[in-house]
Structure formats: structure tokens, C-alpha cells
Point group: D2
Chain length 351, copies 4
């Protein structure tokens, strides 16, 4: 088959490689019908994630058709349409038995696809622990919209919105309006905050933020987000800041901004994938009752989000700005890497 | 009357000053029967807390006798014995109406005593918002033991143990075995963790930690606390770290240690008063589902802790290592400032 | 002044009575600009609430203008427009210091207005503990819409929606579509459930339920609500019931229905004022992980709801079906008591 | 092999039956080294649980040695010592993927052993979904103490103590001091309540309650538990009742008592297996902010409790009052059924 192979920092190509095979009886082989590229893949190509070895097939998101199942797979049969989650889970370790799938202790659990084992940017992919690492696709749902449930929507929702504890009437600041920031906005919207303030350097992304539910947009190359938020809270004594702030970039400066934006008692939910340490101003914050969270999604929200996507309460298709065939992977990467110029959010590659 | 007055960094003295007077009708004047010195007072003397002005009477902990009450005070009369909490609360602002007294928005709410208004290291003290800033002392309880409820016990319990979410069977790391760290150990003990690991540079403090409930003590000048904790979790796959880690020092290095010690999904509760920024290794932690909290106590736990102290379930007297008269304040400060040498925990000054 | 006075079961009249006077220095006297009638007032007139004595002025909801303030009132001055909450709170007792205002231990705390002290269905009303029993009305907000925050909206939201733990994607059953049931629907809507199922015997009320956000309406004189809910969950293995069920009637049969409608792990939030015991089928439910809650609101949500009402995210005016002058109280009671015939929801009486 | 077989209400015998066989590849066969009798087994023999058919082998608790494993079993091999939990879980259904194992939707999930499939009171037992229905026994732990983790300890802890939300300083009432009530007492003790009040009709059981941590014992044939609790709370304004009340009997009268004992804002955790409906006095309780919970354990606490048992923080052996060989089952049942006379708590039958 053909697959998008990583050849060290800066190098990748659409290569002919051997077909994947069942290696454990809980594996399945999935024919990839639709896949996509994540910002994390760009990090890998920069060499930021040293666990990714040369020769690795990238990608951790897919919708596809079950092609082959191991003897120990209980809930799936060939021909089933499945969502392949970016998080795999053995279902039996200490963390999985607490439903903390993102922290699965198995060698092939947690985020492994396109990271420590071959991934989904290929014609076929081997998925470990299939019963607890995939979800059945409901009849009538499109590949594209379900594909947004592989990573971006549950990550924005679980790691951003739920960890941030968004509540009705809140002011929510979302720092970064790339795909996962937009997913956090779409997820926050479900809780009827009074204001969602989206902050980014790209006007195109801020326009998308409005579509997904941002009430206020701030281009922080031109405006000071703290001032904007203080203006919003001005008439309410003491709410000098956002109730919840969601970091969806992964840089020291955006993390510092996210912390600075919250009121006493506020929460900062970090989603961003960071390549280095950040500065935390505990001299200012030790007394302010703040809570900072980090994390990987557990997929606990995936069935709920699937219901909301298929009922139309979340417009998942709106994330998709560009479509390609599988053999146009290199072009798709170019488009996605230049999102600032072309307004790309999610690019979908379909069989 | 006489009081301990701050005269700028490095300078303090036991001076003759005017008696305090009722200024708002919700004030009371309390005759100080017992007070103490907090590590934060040492920070002030170093000049670390710029809000403290020359001429300020220090101190934010007291047990005393109500001497005079404003017309608007509803629950107290002269002669009542009261605990003066380090946190004052107006009871009517937006945060107080949510029981978040530590974040009171009133000018004389939150931590103000010995900070932005005159404090308790004096013969008399004016306490604002008396109905919601003090607690009645039960008959039969000693001044000394109740004094430990003014700050150290509820701070260790609310900001350390409750924010940290300690649960039965947990491994709890407490970084710093000064008075507030010991209070966190005493509070953590209430939840029956499997192990409390106390970490400090002073063997004397580590001995005290054992008394309050630490099962394992680590002098980190000689031992690596991460290794000690890994040895504890060794036989349980994946629990490579503490469930909860409590920072009770207030330095960059101890905060970094506290973060490093927790397992995936763990919680870090910062109690330490920090004078500068710290480094947070989000490159390691973004994926690990950690939660970091900061805060000031709300006194929500004070009635509960008072019950546990008076019933003997918490041995509050054990915090007290040295006793003085009020006019021995300068000597008491010397002893407390040299705690590393003399094993001082809390020093009590009584009328 | 004139006021609506209770003269024993079945009897009330709009009488000339003495003006209220400040009796404690934390009291205020409020000129009633707008008030309303609650279903609970009808219960009182049936004799169901024996604590209500002959001669009591009824009513526990008002928006008005502060006329006089006691010396101990700190946050209000004559001329201020205020919302008078149905729950009064001393702010200093054990429960108030935990922000559980509905359970205030003071003699004039909790639900006292129109219950154990004179109420708001009058030209003037004395409000105890004014600082913690009222809320300032924002400029530009109408009396009518703010009046809905005195009881019906925070009760539906706190006792129904928050206690019931409604979450995005849930199926929520609301048994009873009177004003408080509709408030629960409006509140549930803030959490983006997948379906809100409103159940009532009145088609007019069910139509109102649709306006406030019910997706499915069931007239249980004609349809079986359990079957309707099972049809909704049909395609999702095992979700044989609602996630949350809210009882907003106060009868044994409606409580039993509310319990029966939830799935394993579901929650039943009782809002209804019950005049007798109910049957709980623990033989069926002991194994099903259900949670049942009861309660009185604490007003913790009032500031949030006020923001959502004034921003238009909740359409509070839509509750109001009939308007009267204060001296038309007897007619207003007639209309409200015959809601089944005339579609009355909330009736407003204005100066 | 031989097994204890149910032959309809009132009838059981120790019969020769066919050996169990692997039927699904996730099954294991366990040689039973130790098993016990549960109060629920007595309910079955009274005919209270109609799902139990004639010919069923009873029992849902065991410690044993893995004899045979299905091809799909991943974490166990013959010879492993395992705890067989009373709750089986498929690990892949909607509820299991949320770690709600007690509500497993699979035909052989939830409580099935000795209920809808053959159980553990036999020489061998087939355990479905072995990877998620059993726990490895640590080296050095005795069969007897680990056996207490099959049902009684996690049930008392999860369904009683955790659902009841016991906290330090609480007053906890436990209605019923049979084995599961005692387990609730042992579990509550882990949270350092100020008082645990055990209520039962048997003085022998009340003595055992004291051993496990009850501070106050009430024989309700002679004393009024409400009065005892009010005396405890007397000096604390408004705490007229227990903070948490745990029902561990399963009768209408004990449930009503459990509800009556709590303060406003209190929680009632029902553990009792009920054979009929109960009366809930919502006319008294609608306004009191109470929470009632029911449930089956999910085994989420089993690893934690195992740690606490093996470290000696919970003395599991103390539950065991009588010991028998497997072929003495009929005598063991007689002893257990006459617990009121002979003080029996748990009886253990060992190979």
C-alpha cells in the first residue's frame, strides 16, 4: 500500500510500504476512507517529538472500513464503518479500568498512532485494542463529519471545556483559533457562556471563531485581550478577568497570556502541545485560587459528541476547508502548513 | 498600647502606639490573648510584600476577648472569646455570597490584617466585618490550640489537602515541613492515605513530620525524593509518582520538585507564598493530565477543624515549640527566624 | 397601605393594613413596584402549609424601590431598585457561611416572606437581612423580567437543572410544565441537551414548553412518556431512559413517574412542593445507581441568571401571560388559579 | 465437581454437578480456594429474587486459582491467584467505557454470578470477561482477607461511603451493622468523621461495629437514634442531624429512619437490597436539600481497598467469624442464617 512516511525532521514522502498485519488478536486492520493532518504532525516534522522515529507512518485520525479483525475482537466485524480515535486503550490496565484511556499503561495505549506505531495517513492502518479504541459510525453520518471526532472535537471539549469547567454565564477566553481552539469554542458554546472571547493573530481564523460561537474576537497583534476582557466585566464588581481561559497554541507567551486573563478563582485549561518549559508567575498567582489543567483526551465524550454532530447541534463539517485524494498528501501538507495564508482549518484526504 | 511595628525591610520594634478604634459599625476591638508569627511575616521583613507600608502593625493570627463591638455587629458581645481568622470577609460581595471569603472584594476583606491594615501582634486589634471574620471559641478549649486555627491549620487543609483532593490509599508528597507543611500532613492524615512522604532539608522538621503523620521522610540534601516515591509505587504498574503533591515552601526549585513527583492524573496543590515566577515544564506535562492549584483559604473548614482539634483528633498543641509574653516579641522573632537551628515550629505570645 | 391578607384556608382579601416598619437594623422597607403569585400561594390557600397563620400577608417575590434602610444595612440606600429574593439569608450562620442560604438558621432566614413573616403582595414589604436577601437591578432591565428571578428561574435552575446535573447531549425529562417546570426547561436548555421532553396534562402548557426549549412534548393523558423516551433512546444500546428527570408538580404520581423515567445512573431532581409522602420503588431502584435530590434554592445562581436575562439569553418576559394593577389582586388570583383554562403562566401585578 | 445448588425457595443442596467449561474466549475457569455466603443469598432462598432459576449454583464471591483461560484472555494465565469480583464487566459497552462496571450492558455483565449464571459456591466457577472481572491477588495476602474484597468491602465503601460523601468531622449514621454495614463503618473511618453512630437491634453486631470504628452504638429496640444524634449535635446550632446516613438493611422502616436522621443538606446512601417499595416523606423533605443515592458497586475502589487491606489499614480478617470446608456448605448456611443468635458476620468456606 501507500503511506505518508516520516524521514526525519523536515522530510516526509508518500511511499510504497508493506501492508499492515494483525499482530495481536485484539487488533483490526482498517481501510482508511478519510484521514486528516493535525498540527501535531507539523510539530513532528520540525523534530519536536523525539519519540517519532524515521520510517514511521504519520497520522492519528481516521474514519474507515474494517478490513480484518483479530480473533479476540468482540464488537467488530469486517465491513463495519469505524471512527479510529487518536487515543488507543487496552481496556484492562489500572488507568483504563478507571476510564482514563488517555493514560493507558499498555505499550500500545494512549496516543500511539503515528507516534510510536504506524498511523492513519495510509491506505490501511492497524489499530490495537480495537474494541476500546474505535467507535461505530452511525448510519447516515458522513466520513468527513465523523472524522472530526477522532481528535479535534473531543480534545477541545474534554481537555479544554470540561477541564476548564465552563458554566452558563461565564466569560471564556480561548487563546488560539486554530482547529483545536475552534473545537473548544464549539464545545464551550454548549454551556451557554455569556461571552466567548477568541484571541489569535490571524483575522481569517478569528472569522472562523465567530462562526463557531465566539462573541468577541481579538487580534492580539492590534488589541490587548486583557483590556477587552476587563471592558466586558467592567460593570460587575470584581470580575476582572475571564472565568475560564483555554490555551490552544502551545507557546510560552500564549500560556502566560491565558493565565493572566483569568479572574481570581478562574481556571486555565491547557490544550496546547508544548515543546518547552513556560513561566508561571506564582508571585502574582499564589493567592488567587487559580487552577491549571493539562491533559490528553480519554474519549469519554466521544459518544456524546457523535450524537451532537449527527443531530446537527455541532456543525463538524465547518472545520473542513480543503479536500484531497489520498495520493495528494504532499500537497495537502503544504496547504495545511500555510494555514495563516490560505485560511486552512482541517484538510480531509479521502479514498 | 504596645504593638510590633514594621519600619521597612529589616526593621521592626515593639512600640507604644495609639489604641485601635471602631471605624465601621461592623468592626470589633479584640484584646489579644494569644498571637503568633507566620513565615509570611518573615517575608514581609525581607521586603517581599510591597503592599506592607512602614508603620504597619504586623500579625494576622489571634485568639482574644471581645473588648468593644460596633453597632452593626450581630453575633458578638464584649467578653466573648474569639478566634480572629487571618482572612476577613465582608459577607456581602459577589465572592462572599459564594462563600469564597479569601477573595472578598471589599477593601478590608481577604488577607488584610498585618498586611494592608494593622494586625494582631499587639495588645489590641481592630477586626473588620467581625460577624464573618471571627469564630467563637468553645468552652474548655485553650487559647493556644485554637490559635492554630487562625491560619496554619485551615491553610494546610483547604489550600493543600482539599485542593489537592487527597483520598484514601493515596501517596501524598509534602514538599516542605515547616508549620504549614506539617498542617498539610495533619490534614492529609484525615483521609487515610497509604503513604505521606515528607520532604525537607531539616532533620528536626522531618522528625516533627513523623509526629504529624508522615510515613516516609526524605532529607533532600541526601536523598532523591522521586526515587523514594518510585520505590513505594514499584510493585503497582504505572503509579510512577505521587497521587497528590503539596508545595509548602514557596521557591522555584520546590515547585518544580512538587510537579515532577506526581503521577499522570496527579494534582499539585501550591500553598507556598512565592516571591517570583517559577518554571513549569509543560513540554513534559502537557500530556499527563495534571492539575495545579493555588489559593488563599476561605475559612470554610474552620468549624470542622475546630471540632477535630477540640475532640483531640488533631493535636494542635504539638505545633507549638516556644512560648513568650507579648513584650518578648523581638526575642520571639529571633527564635522563629532561626527555626532551622532551634527546631522552632510555631511560637506563641500570650498576654 | 393595602395588602393581600390570608384569612385561613380558602380565604384572602385585599385589605387595609398598617405599613411595615424596620424592626432590626439589617432590615429595609421596599416599595413594591411589581409582584406575582406563586403556585405555592395556592397551596397555602388550600391549607397545605400549616405554618402560615391567619392575617399573614402573602407573597415572596418582588421588584421594588428601597424606601427606608436600617442602620446596619451596608450596600443599599433609599431609591435603589432591588430584586427581593424569595429566600432571605442572615449571612452569618453556619449554613450561610457555606453559601447555603436556603437553609439559613436564623429565625427570619430561608423562605420566610409570605410564609412566617409578612410578604410581598402589598404596597410595601419589610425585607430582613437586606444585604444578603436582595440583588441590585441593573439599569435598563424591566421590573417584569427581573421579577422572574425572585423565585421561578433560580428555583428551576438550581433545584432542577444544577441538582439534576444536566449535561450536553443528555435526554432530560421535565414532569410538569407550569412556571417552575418551564424555568427548568429554560435552564436545561443552557446545557445543550440532545432532547428535552416536557410532560403535562395541559396542551397549552406544553406549547409554552416548546417555546422555552422542549424538543418533545407528551400529554400524558394520551401518551406514555416512558414509551416516548424509549423510542428516543432506541438506537443507543442501553440508554433506556432519561439521563435526568425533573419533578415540577409535587404529587405522588408525578414523583413516581419521574423516578421511572431515568436510565441506570440517572438523576431525579425534585422541585415540586409536596403535601404528603410518596412511594419510592427501591425494589426496582436499589441496584440502578440513581440519585434523588430535593431542595430550596440558595440564590447562588441569581447573578448569573440576571446576566443571562438582561443579555436576552433567557427570555424571562415570556413567562408573563397576564398583567394587573396591585388593587386587582383578587382577579389576578382567579386567573392564576384557573391556569389550566386560560393558559396563565406568571401573572404580574404592578404599581 | 460439587456445588451449592438452588432448588427453589427454601431449598438448596451440595450436589454433584458437571464441571464448568469455557464458553466464550474471554472466560476463565477458576478453582475456588475460598468463598463465602452473602445476605443476598438468603434473600434468594426466600424467593425474593425471581431472576434466580432452579438449578442455579449460588455465590458471587471467591478467591481462587486460575485453572483454564480462554484464548481472548490477555492478563491472566493458569496458576494465577485471583479475586473474583461479584460484579462482572465486559469492558467494552457504553457503561463500561465510562467505568460504570456495575451497570454493564452485556448479558453476562453486572451482578450475574450466582444470579443469572452459575456462581462461586462450588469447586470451580466460570468467570466471564476475566480481564475486567477479576483482580490479581498480591503475594503474601491471605485468601480470607482478599475474599472480603469480592463484595462486602467495596460495596460498603462505594455505595455507602463514597456515594454518601463522608468527610472529615462529619457525623455518620449507619443503619444496620451486618457485614455490609460494618464495611461501611470501616470505610467511613478512613475519612475521619467526628462520630460514627451504628444502629442495630443486635448487641453482638453493635459490639462488632465498635471494633470497626463506631464511636456511638444505638440498639434501637431500646433507644431512639434521632435523639442520640440530636444530643451529639446539641451544641452546634442547626446541625440537628447526621451529615450522612447509610442504609444497610433493606427494609422500609430502616430506610425511613435513615432519611429522618440527616440534617438539612444531608445525604442518604442506600446499600440495602430491598424487596419492596418504601415511603419517602417528601412533605417533610422537599425543602431540606437532601440527596438519596442507590447503586451497585463498580469495583473502582477495589485496587485501593486491596492496598489498604494488605497494609493493615483495614482489618479485613475481623469480618470472619466462622470457617468451614467447602463440603460443609449446608452447615455454614445454617450458621449464617442464624447470625442474630451466634454473632456470625462472614463465614468463609475454604478448599
Amino acid at each position: 500500500m501507500r503511506a505518508l512516511v516520516y524521514h526525519g525532521p523536515g522530510h516526509k514522502s508518500w511511499d510504497e510500504v508493506p501492508d499492515p498485519e494483525i499482530s495481536a488478536d485484539t487488533d483490526i486492520i482498517v481501510q482508511v476512507d478519510a484521514t486528516t493532518i493535525c498540527g501535531t504532525d507539523l510539530h513532528i516534522l520540525k523534530g519536536d517529538l523525539p519519540k517519532v522515529r524515521n520510517g514511521r507512518i504519520l497520522g492519528h485520525e481516521a474514519v474507515g472500513t474494517v478490513d480484518e479483525v483479530g480473533d479476540g475482537v468482540r464488537t467488530l466485524t469486517p465491513g463495519d464503518r469505524v471512527l479510529v480515535s487518536s487515543v488507543s486503550a487496552c481496556g484492562t490496565c489500572q488507568f483504563c479500568r478507571q476510564a482514563r484511556y488517555g493514560q493507558c499503561l499498555s505499550g500500545e495505549g494512549g496516543w500511539v498512532l503515528g507516534h510510536t506505531i504506524d498511523g492513519t495517513q495510509a491506505e490501511y492502518v492497524r489499530v490495537p485494542f480495537a474494541d476500546t479504541s474505535t467507535f461505530r459510525v452511525p448510519d447516515g453520518a458522513s466520513d468527513e463529519e465523523i472524522l472530526m471526532l477522532a481528535d479535534v472535537l473531543p480534545t477541545g471539549y474534554e481537555v479544554g471545556v470540561l477541564a476548564g469547567g465552563v458554566r452558563p454565564g461565564d466569560i471564556v477566553a480561548v487563546v488560539g483559533a486554530g482547529p483545536v481552539g475552534l473545537a473548544a469554542i464549539a464545545g464551550a458554546q454548549l454551556f451557554s457562556p455569556s461571552h466567548i472571547v477568541a484571541i489569535d493573530l490571524s483575522d481569517a481564523r478569528l472569522e472562523a471563531a465567530k462562526y463557531f460561537g465566539a462573541d468577541v474576537i481579538v487580534n492580539n497583534s492590534r488589541e490587548n485581550p486583557l483590556q477587552v476582557i476587563r471592558d466586558l466585566t467592567g460593570d460587575l464588581a470584581g470580575r476582572f478577568g475571564a472565568d475560564v481561559s483555554i490555551e490552544a497554541v502551545g507557546l510560552p507567551a500564549t500560556f502566560e497570556m491565558a493565565v493572566k486573563l483569568v479572574r481570581p478563582g478562574g481556571r486555565i485549561a491547557n490544550i496546547g502541545v508544548h515543546g518547552g518549559a513556560v513561566t508561571l508567575h506564582l508571585d502574582e498567582q499564589w493567592i488567587r485560587d487559580i487552577t491549571i489543567t493539562t491533559g490528553l483526551k480519554d474519549t469519554s465524550s466521544t459518544p456524546t459528541l457523535m450524537r451532537l454532530v449527527t443531530s446537527g447541534q455541532i456543525d463538524a463539517k465547518r472545520f473542513i476547508t480543503h479536500r484531497f485524494g489520498l495520493d495528494e498528501f504532499e500537497e495537502a501538507y503544504d496547504v495545511f502548513a500555510n494555514a495563516a495564508d490560505n485560511g486552512a482549518l482541517k484538510v480531509v484526504l479521502s479514498r
